[in-house]
């Protein structure tokens, strides 16, 4: 998932919300539960305290009596954390009663430590118990028989706080586990939702790819209502793009036709005459002729540069060209050998491929002696080049070019504005066309003896 993508945005907002809400909810539940457990713990201690106070103080004598039943077996177990104690306050003489669990220890009195009472006259205090664990102490001050003038006793019940904490901690762990799982589940659902929801966009992406590669001429399929207008607009745009290209081609063709016949007339007329004026006219007409050719080629090229998604089968394009060139050069008895990888397709306009091949083959036939060779292979994408390439080579057995000549022509072919029309080889337009398809043209010596021209073009 890319950082700047709809899927990421949707997923990130949803994830952020989940990450924020789940811990908050967890904390809330945890607090409520902890308070609840605390309250019930306190309530139980309070109940025990009340029972102890009633049992030990309901006496007619001056001393408290041991409680009969305290409903808590852990009072009997030594150091269980559950204790009770009845003891006179302020160091007054009197009987001290303790639970068996307390053994010989004495619990500190919140009264002695000046803890305030709550509204029921009870004091609460958390202190380390006899074994070192924290215990919660409740205390009321009472007198035997509840008579105010008798000796005041501190009645204490204590329970282990770590039990409370253990319970709460256990709950917290379970809650954390449950909420984490829930959170992960939510993320998974969100992920699915995002993918599923954005599936039509994927389809658009695929559709556009196949349009660019020429497999489809428009965006196909039933898309959701929200993006249907987009689909319609895109299709209209593609159609108008194709129309513009075709129209431009037609206009350029018409312009060519309209200009070239008068130019031919002027040229021929002027060459008949040997006056300085006619010579000048002939010279200028020649320049015009070159310029017209040069810029018409480039106008056609510019028109096709904007075209979307055209695919040209290589062999079906090369075959008629080879046939035509063999016919044109039949007196010379030159043979053109064609060797094309099965199913090779050029990603681009048929006319442009024809221009490139036509010019190269024409040159090769012009310079070659008996043999011209046209090869086309498909090169699979590798580390350097991402897309499939169509590599075309045209070679002849003619005199060829020297390395310096090749370098000179290669350099001139590199840049459009320096490429003067009428180079004589027609290579500049080939190079420009190849470049316009983000391809390249290079020259080399052929093993046949002549020139080898190598084109790298986009393939399908």
């Amino acid at each position: 998932m890319r950082f700047n993508s709809l899927a990421f945005r949707l997923f990130a907002t949803s994830a952020a919300w989940t990450l924020l809400v789940l811990p908050l909810a967890g904390y809330l539940i945890y607090s409520l539960y902890r308070d609840d457990v605390q309250l019930s713990f306190d309530a139980q201690l309070k109940k025990l305290l009340t029972a102890l106070a009633i049992d030990s103080m309901n006496t007619t004598g001056d001393a408290p009596v041991p409680p009969q039943n305290l409903y808590e077996p852990l009072f009997e177990v030594t150091n269980s954390g559950w204790y009770w104690q009845v003891r006179p306050i302020d160091g007054a003489p009197g009987r001290t009663l303790v639970s068996p669990s307390l053994a010989s220890a004495i619990l500190p009195s919140p009264y002695a430590k000046k803890f305030p009472t709550d509204n029921t006259g009870t004091r609460w205090m958390n202190v380390p118990g006899p074994t070192g664990e924290t215990i919660r102490i409740l205390e009321v001050i009472d007198t035997p028989g509840h008579e105010p003038d008798k000796t005041k006793y501190s009645v204490i019940v204590a329970g282990p706080l770590n039990w409370l904490e253990a319970t709460v901690a256990k709950f917290r762990n379970r809650l954390t586990t449950a909420l984490s799982l829930f959170g992960l589940g939510l993320m998974a659902v969100t992920l699915f939702q995002v993918r599923f929801g954005l599936l039509p966009l994927r389809r658009i992406e695929k559709g556009l790819t196949s349009i660019r590669s020429g497999e489809a001429s428009k965006l196909e399929g039933q898309l959701p209502a929200e993006i249907e207008p987009l689909q319609n607009e895109l299709n209209a745009l593609i159609q108008s793009n194709n129309e513009i290209v075709d129209r431009a081609r037609t206009q350029v063709g018409n312009l060519a036709h309209a200009l070239k016949t008068p130019l031919a007339v002027i040229t021929n007329e002027a060459r008949e005459d040997k006056s300085p004026f006619a010579v000048k006219v002939a010279e200028q007409a020649q320049i015009m002729r070159d310029q017209v050719g040069h810029y018409l080629d480039r106008a056609r090229m510019a028109a096709s540069a904007g075209a979307i998604g055209r695919v040209t089968p290589f062999e079906a394009t090369a075959d008629p060209l080879v046939r035509a060139l063999e016919r044109i050069n039949r007196d010379k008895g030159i043979a053109i050998y064609l060797q094309v990888a099965a199913g090779a397709k050029f990603q681009g306009e048929k006319q442009d491929l024809e221009e490139m091949l036509g010019n190269l083959l024409d040159n090769a036939c012009k310079w070659g002696r008996k043999r011209v060779q046209l090869k086309a292979v498909i090169v699979a994408p590798d580390g350097k080049v991402r897309a499939k390439r169509l590599v075309v080579t045209v070679e002849d057995d003619g005199p060829g070019l020297s390395a310096e000549q090749r370098a000179k022509i290669g350099k001139r072919g590199m840049r459009l504005d320096e490429t003067k029309p009428g180079s004589g080889l027609g290579l500049s337009i080939v190079s420009d066309l190849a470049t316009s398809y983000r391809g390249s043209m290079s020259l080399d010596a052929s093993p046949l003896g002549g020139l080898l021209v190598r084109l790298e073009l986009p393939a399908v």
């Binding site: 036709h257 016949t261 040229t267 007329e269 050719g293 046939r323 039949r330 024809e354």
Partner: protein, 223 residues
């Protein structure tokens, strides 16, 4: 040699007629497709210059129809449409060569010569016939190195015979191939010209085959 020019641009048409005429061809001309088609279908031309963009009937259709009815004369397409797809269309329709406008007249004439030569089975620009040598490029005839002065009619007659040396050429064929359609076709004029030619070149070079026509003797191609 008879040539047909089918070109709708009046100026270019006139230039082509003049240039071909100067080069020794008997030229017929048409300014639209229908006329051009009719001429090519009925008259025996040795070469046709055909434009593609023509009124009434386009050049490709004309060419296809000619070829369908077995008209096999060499056709050179002359057009402003210089894309390779246009060239392929033209060649597939049965053209023998293709020349894009604007062009140099010398280039056109060279191609016309090449087509005429090829149609009559000669590979080289020079045709030899015994002591005679015809340079198709310069339209000159020499006899043992000496240039022979010929009128345009005499030249056409001799050139046609030399192009078709080794076979008998009938008087009718000569008439059909030497004069444009407006010429008064009287086969007696052929005999007059043969007579004049025999005075300028060795007499036995042009042999009369009684009842059939004429034949060039000692053609280089026969040896």
């Amino acid at each position: 040699m008879r040539a047909l020019v089918v070109e709708d641009d009046k100026d270019l048409n006139r230039q082509l007629v003049t240039a071909l005429g100067d080069a020794g061809y008997a030229v017929d001309t048409a300014h639209d497709g229908e006329e051009g088609y009719f001429l090519g279908d009925t008259e025996p031309y040795d070469v046709v210059i055909l434009d593609i963009g023509l009124p009434k009937m386009d050049g490709i259709s004309i060419l296809e129809q000619w070829r369908r009815s077995e008209r096999k004369m060499p056709v050179i397409i002359l057009t402003a449409r210089d894309r390779w797809s246009d060239k392929v269309t033209g060649m597939d329709a049965g053209a023998d060569d293709y020349l894009a406008k604007p062009f140099h007249m010398e280039e056109l004439l060279a191609r016309v010569r090449a087509q005429v030569r090829r149609a009559s089975g000669h590979a080289k620009a020079e045709i030899e016939c015994g002591p005679l040598r015809l340079d198709t490029k310069s339209a000159r005839v020499t006899c043992e190195g000496q240039q022979i002065k010929l009128t345009s009619h005499e030249f056409r007659l001799l050139a046609y015979l030399m192009h078709h040396n080794g076979r008998v050429v009938s008087r009718t064929e000569l008439v059909e191939h030497l004069y444009d359609q407006d010429f008064d076709r009287d086969s007696n004029t052929i005999e007059v010209f043969i007579g004049r030619l025999r005075k300028k070149i060795p007499v036995d070079v042009i042999q009369t085959v009684r009842g059939l026509g004429y034949r060039m003797s000692q053609g280089a191609d026969e040896v």
